[in-house]
């Protein structure tokens, strides 16, 4: 049976034992990646903060997260009195299950021989694989929200509500940023999107033959950037970690969780990070295909090597997550929501509109001269609207901090004291009173009196 590479037709033929091997393999990959990522994050953040980080258990402290995980599993499980028991139990299960399921359609490599059976390094693929990942992430929100509600406590409830609003909003931005990839690749299947990025598409633009870069990260820069920003929001990571903002909500939705249930949330969070990074690599960074300098070696994209390239890309993206956490302070909630709805989504819509228009123009049977004319006309109209749009009148409301009066007060006599701008220290307002109330103290070298007072003091 010969099947076209990078097509969904090559899936669904595996014998049951191979499916089982792949499932166990993905499970092991995700758990190991979680353990590694925790260590990786702690070490990277420690390096940025000039401290060693975990370095006791195993070489370079690599076994630290394993030890932590074991300890977490063996801790006492506490069930809050006001908890809704069934929902409290189901919530972490939903979170972890959805996190694991999403990875099923992640392409890790090309077709390889599994004990004589040719099959891709990917559990399965369907024509709507990317939607499956989105569906899993939208179901994963249930875990967070229900955990917050079922705990029967205030902080978790606030964390759950925050996260439901946040994740739904950022899922919209995320879904829209993926649309550009669908338009460009002509498919929603992950393996076909990777295949579509194998070679740079040649565009016949106005008589010129241009070779567009093969990675969609370069070709669709706005989508890539919006995807990454919304991925950070979707995974509740700093600087968008409002659902679990330590300084405001203790631990957010998982405040009341302990032991193994908490470990499941922890696992789900890190797996989600790996999944969004993996999806980012798949959609925008060429998937398992080797990056440029490696492709000189002809075997780079065959056999099991692609798993290495994929993992390297995922780790690189995870580093950006850690880097953001180490660098940026947490956003305020309203600013964060405004950013999602009023910046990311409109930009995305305009960008998709432009891209779809361009694609339609390309596919149309018009003459290239007319195409060029249409493009130039559209660009000119947009530029004209941009330039001629009436600028919003900035109303000049006096803020009251312009004038500084002679007493060093800002905003007139009713204003507030301010340090003098010329850095001359003004006379202290208390000075005259002090001199009035106290006996004048002799200052300067006195002859007999000073010695007398010193002796009295002793």
């Amino acid at each position: 049976m010969t099947l076209a590479a990078g097509s969904v037709d090559q899936f669904g033929h595996d014998p049951w034992w191979l499916v089982l091997i792949k499932i166990v393999g993905i499970f092991a990959f995700l758990v190991v990646m979680t353990l590694f990522t925790i260590w990786y994050e702690r070490r990277a953040v420690a390096y940025m903060q000039v401290r060693p980080g975990p370095n006791r258990n195993g070489p370079f402290g690599l076994l630290q997260s394993l030890a932590d995980g074991l300890k977490l599993g063996l801790k006492e499980e506490i069930l809050p009195k006001l908890a809704d028991k069934a929902v409290y139990f189901i919530a972490p299960v939903i979170s972890a299950t959805c996190a694991f399921t999403a990875f099923a359609v992640m392409p890790l490599g090309p077709s390889v021989s599994w004990f004589g059976h040719m099959s891709p390094i990917q559990l399965t693929d369907i024509p709507v694989a990317v939607l499956l990942i989105l569906a899993c992430s939208s179901m994963g929100i249930y875990g967070v929200v229900l955990a917050g509600w079922a705990s029967g406590s205030t902080y978790p409830l606030l964390g759950g509500l925050r996260s439901s609003a946040q994740m739904i909003s950022y899922e919209v931005a995320m879904g829209l940023s993926i649309v550009a990839v669908f338009i460009q690749a002509g498919s929603m299947s992950t393996s076909e999107i990777v295949e579509a990025q194998a070679h740079g598409t040649t565009w016949n633009l106005f008589g010129l033959t241009l070779t567009a870069p093969s990675w969609y990260a370069l070709l669709l820069v706005p989508s890539f950037l919006i995807y990454f920003v919304s991925a950070v929001g979707e995974t509740n990571r700093a600087p968008f970690d409002l659902p679990e903002a330590e300084s405001e909500l203790v631990g957010g939705f998982h405040t009341e969780y302990s032991s193994f249930k908490f470990a499941m949330f922890f696992l789900a969070e890190y797996i989600n990070m790996v999944t969004v990074s993996g999806l980012c690599a798949t959609l925008f960074l060429g998937g398992w295909r080797a990056p440029w300098p490696v492709t000189i070696w002809s075997h780079a994209n065959s056999g099991w090597w692609p798993v290495l390239w994929f993992t390297a890309k995922v780790l690189l993206l995870l580093f950006v997550f850690v880097w953001l956490r180490g660098t940026l302070p947490r956003l305020r909630y309203d600013q964060f929501m405004r950013f999602g709805w009023k910046a990311l989504i409109p930009i995305n819509l305009v960008w998709i509109l432009g891209l779809a228009g361009l694609r339609t123009l390309q596919n149309s049977a018009l003459e290239s001269r007319i195409k060029m004319f249409i493009t130039v006309a559209v660009v000119l109209i947009v530029a004209a609207v941009w330039v001629l749009w009436p600028a919003k009148e900035k109303s000049k409301v006096p803020t009251g901090i312009e004038g500084i009066d002679p007493a060093g007060r800002v905003g007139g006599a009713e204003g507030f004291p301010m340090p003098p701008l010329n850095l001359e220290v003004p006379p202290s307002p208390r000075a005259p009173r002090l001199t009035a109330e106290r006996e004048p103290v002799p200052v300067g070298p006195a002859t007999g009196d000073k010695n007398a007072t010193e002796q009295e003091g002793r």
Partner: protein
């Protein structure tokens, strides 16, 4: 680009996997539907509904409609049910149904109307689809090169007007709801930062935070007022709703900490 799994599912007979999925999920879907009506707690009810919707999504996928199935899961189960849940959580977790009928006979009326509606929809569907000569999924899918391509083409050619009108209607409803519910203060009414600062430092207002209860006192109870530097009680440090509490002689006695 027809998918093998989709093709397998599209054949007339129900194969092993499809049958197993149906017989496992169908009872769960029915339990979810019944549980949604019967659950006392509003959040449990919403969760049962989400479960039923999820099962329906899986049924669509199994019946070779992957796009509609995932759209159902993402849009209905993921977003819309989540918003329902959001509202229910704000209502409060102990807002259970009361057993007393506030409207006389409404339950009986609801049951009769529900059964009547189900019968109407069932007979309508049966009469409409009973005599339809089905072309088969394979024919429909191969015509446009796949399930998703087929949906996309129909949606953006034949049904584009209906699609756009529906979306316009939904957006109108959403904007209308927002306008009715949202109260925006005018810019002039909003206090600016300098105004707030001026108010804070105006004579008669104490600009610093109030002293915490129990500060410099012999107890850390919220009912114990803070002490001013001269030893008198700071009235402001106690909330108005906390009743004044007389200390017992044992409590008021020196604890040996003042030395």
């Amino acid at each position: 680009m027809t998918h093998e799994m989709v093709l397998a599912a599209a054949s007339d007979a129900m194969k092993g996997g499809e049958a197993a999925t149906f017989w496992i999920l169908a009872p769960i879907a029915v339990i979810g539907a019944i549980g949604m009506v019967w659950a006392r707690n509003a959040v449990h009810s919403a969760l049962f509904l989400a479960m039923t919707m999820l099962c329906l999504g899986v049924f669509y996928i199994v019946q070779a409609g992957p796009f509609i199935g995932f759209a159902q899961i993402i849009v209905y189960t993921g977003a819309i049910m989540m918003l329902f849940l959001f509202v229910l959580m704000l209502v409060g977790r102990d807002a259970s149904d009361s057993l007393i009928e506030t409207l006389r006979g409404q339950r009986m009326a609801a049951i009769i109307l529900g059964i009547g509606f189900a019968g109407l929809v069932g007979t309508g569907l049966f009469r409409a689809l009973g005599s339809v000569n089905a072309a088969g999924l394979t024919a429909a899918n191969t015509k446009r090169g796949g399930n998703i391509q087929g949906i996309a083409e129909l949606l953006f050619t034949k049904y584009v007007f209906a699609f756009e009108v529906t979306s316009a209607l939904l957006i109108t409803a959403a904007v209308g709801a927002m306008l009715l519910a949202h109260i925006e203060r005018r810019k002039e009414d909003r206090k600016t930062q300098p105004e707030l600062m001026r108010e804070r430092f105006a004579p008669g207002n104490y600009p610093a935070p109030k002293p915490g209860p129990g500060v410099f006192a012999t107890s850390d109870s919220v009912a114990t007022p803070a002490r001013l530097p001269d030893g008198s009680m700071a009235d402001r440090s106690i909330s108005k709703i906390v009743p004044t509490r007389e200390l017992t002689s044992a409590e008021a006695a020196p604890k040996g900490t003042e030395k």
